[in-house]
Amino acid sequence: MSLPERYRPKVIVTKIGLDGHDRGSRIVATMLRDSGMEVVYTPPWQSISDVVRLAEEEDADIIGISSLATDHLLIPDLLEALRKSDLEHIGVIVGGIIPEEDENELLELGVSRVFHPGSALKEISSYVRTLAIEVRTKSLRKWESQNHEKC
């Protein structure tokens, strides 16, 4: 099966941890919304459990985490919490000031991509769209095969 072209990806744009610089997350969220996606935007300082609950309730395709001041150190915990809640199919992307060695670690742990300052908004939105469609297609396939087994 394949998704229609007009599929509207559902994206959560949020910040976890202690920092509150939100110019980046607001701009990215606005741009994703204006490019036709369904965006759930939260203020900063979300706890990991808040983000996981929100992702589940909203049936999100993508979680975008913005980090300026070392809060990305909590992302491994977020990935773990998503796995525990059986939500590991959700794509996690990160934007902000992420040192290179930390970026490599995050990618190894399952983050799909890290965007740095200066990334073009068009590039972010096209990446998010492609990833969202991939995520949604996979989860639909999984659902189909599970239901098939039940029959």
């Binding site: 920092d19 610089h21 203020p43 000031i97 040192p99």
Partner: protein, 558 residues
């Protein structure tokens, strides 16, 4: 024949000829605008600005209308303070770095606390992974004492990033009392004291409800005026708003409108503007828009003296001075080819020096990669010294004055800034405008507009949307992190501190704090200082004050 004579009389002036030639060579040229939306012409002449208005518009340094600077000698008499931000790890880490700076001859220092402190927590309330990575872990009077170990508090001017309810200053005062230092000798500035800028543009520093903040700030100003007279209790911040996306004109206007609001609040409390305004200071972003930044600050100086005299009737010439600190713009730095940032910071710092600022922080080139390394911070300081002592940029006071362009732009920026201030006045003042969300929307809109100009290529960012290189070689240093052992020890120290306190003293301090908060006629900041001196921690004070005066978190929307 008569006609021919007329033609002769209408001979083109050199200006006409230049215009024709310019249009001929650039027939398709589109208008250029600065970040504040003012159209920038290719040439400025006496038609745009002439000397006949010198006395009215410029005057002399230290004299009205203050355009040329607030002191008669400016940077010849006193070099601007070179204040670098420091704060990392444990109090011992901070102390080591501080003493290095002092040994190198610095007297103007800063203290940046850990993000957990900003959020109003003690370190035992947050994920240890995040501790000490962005600032120093300081919660108790013991911690503060260790930060300043073997350092004479009297000899320093300390700028502390200390949002309401100003627990860090309280900790410093407690240390002074412990060491027998009279508070009259404690000097410096409460940076991050401008809750309005936090509410609209830098939410992480916002801790109390808007109304609660309003009261605590005025109490703090009144307390310092009486007990810590050499301390600047307030720094009004345009930098946050500009970093969050406001244009230079908007940032200046919002800052002035905020200053008006705070002054009115102090006057309503019965304080004398001739006195408290002496301690008002300002803090601005210096972006890449070189001439615009210079015009912004010169215009700001001219507007503020007028506001202070006209609106508040202040007669004391000292309060006509618009004292400000400048910081080069972090958001203008790029991750791509990060060494280019040294050039950017140089241009921004030069603009800052030409504005006649009183203190300057230059960003480190690697701030977009991680928290700054010591090497990069050293280059940032050297940049200021090169500008001053090698390039001699500060030998002449207000050296760009009289430039047709700079003066005309200063006038236009002034007009633009005043029109924004008038809109805020119409909305009932800054506090009301902020409650309505007006300023926040303004900033969000401008941020998006600037981003679009970058995306469209209209605004060049070297290495990002133009002159890009394929081989991206980053010199990103790994993030400096305090070791787990250090963090653990610091947590242990806090635990012991809390356990060793006299329980009944603690309870008494807390109930006095509650009492003062509930009684509007008492100075709640005085009670905070006493509580901290009595052993209450930073986090405990913030929790208590939040309980009494309300916790507020700005709503952000897209």
């Amino acid at each position: 024949m008569k006609n021919a004579e007329v033609v002769d009389l209408r001979q083109d002036t050199p200006e006409d000829l230049w215009k024709q030639e310019y249009r001929h060579q650039l027939p398709e040229e589109k208008p250029i605008h600065n970040r504040s939306g003012i159209e920038i012409k290719p040439l400025y002449t006496p038609a745009d600005w002439d000397d006949s208005r010198y006395d009215e518009k410029l005057g002399y340094p230290g004299q009205l209308p203050m355009t040329r600077g607030i002191y008669s000698t400016m940077h010849r008499g006193r070099v601007w303070s070179q204040r670098q931000l420091i704060g990392f790890g444990t109090p011992e880490d901070y102390n080591r770095r501080l003493r290095k700076l002092l040994d190198a001859g610095n007297t103007a220092i800063s203290l940046i606390p850990c993000n957990s402190v900003y959020r109003g927590y003690d370190i035992d309330e947050v994920d240890p992974k995040l501790l000490g990575t962005c600032g120093v872990m300081v919660n108790t009077v013991d911690d503060m004492d260790r930060c300043f170990r073997d350092v004479d508090i009297k000899s320093l001017s300390t700028a502390m990033n200390d949002p309401l309810p100003f627990t860090l200053l309280a900790l410093l005062l407690a240390v002074a009392r412990r060491r027998g230092v009279d508070w009259i000798h404690v000097s410096g500035t409460s940076n991050q004291s401008d809750y309005i800028s936090h509410y609209v543009a830098n939410h992480m520093f916002f801790r109390l409800s808007l109304d609660g903040s309003r009261r605590v700030l005025v109490d703090h100003i009144a307390f310092c005026q009486e007990h810590v007279p050499n301390w600047n209790p307030l720094s009004i911040v345009g930098q946050h708003m500009q970093q969050a996306g406001a244009t230079p004109a908007e940032a200046m206007a919002f800052t002035l409108a905020t200053g008006i609001q705070y002054a009115e609040d102090c006057i309503a409390r019965g304080m004398d503007p001739n006195k408290f305004l002496e301690r008002f200071t300002f803090f601005f972003d210096i972006s890449m828009s070189f001439f615009e930044e210079i015009a912004k600050c010169r215009a700001g100086r001219r507007i503020w003296q007028n506001i202070v005299r006209e609106r508040f009737g202040a007669q004391n010439p000292k309060v006509w001075r618009f004292k400000f600190h400048g910081q080069t713009s972090g958001v203008d730095l790029t991750r791509q080819e990060p060494l280019n940032n040294i050039a950017r910071v140089t241009v921004q710092a030069m603009a800052g020096v030409f504005t006649g600022l009183q203190s300057l922080h230059t960003d480190s080139y690697d701030e977009v990669l991680s928290a700054p390394t010591e090497e990069a911070a050293r280059i940032a300081v050297a940049t200021q010294n090169i500008i001053r002592e090698e390039a001699h940029c500060s030998d002449v006071i207000d050296p760009l004055a009289g430039s047709y362009y700079v003066e005309s732009l200063t006038d236009q920026m002034e007009e633009k800034i005043l029109s924004i201030v008038a809109k805020i006045d119409d909305a009932g003042g800054m506090f009301k405008a902020v409650e309505k969300g007006m300023i926040q929307n303004w900033i969000g809109h401008s941020a998006m507009k600037f981003q679009e100009s970058i995306e469209s290529g209209q605004q060049t960012i070297v290495g990002v949307n133009k002159y890009t290189l394929d081989d991206e070689s980053l010199s990103a240093k790994p993030l400096e992190r305090p070791s787990a052992t250090k963090v653990h020890n610091q947590l242990d120290t806090l635990k012991k501190y809390k356990a060793n306190r006299n329980r009944s003293d603690y309870n008494r301090a807390i109930s006095r704090l509650q009492q003062a908060a509930q009684d509007e006629t008492q100075n709640v900041y005085g009670a905070i200082v006493e509580a901290i001196c009595g052993g209450v921690t930073h986090g405990e004070v913030v929790h208590q004050i939040r309980q009494e005066l309300g916790f507020g978190q700005p709503q952000t929307t897209i």
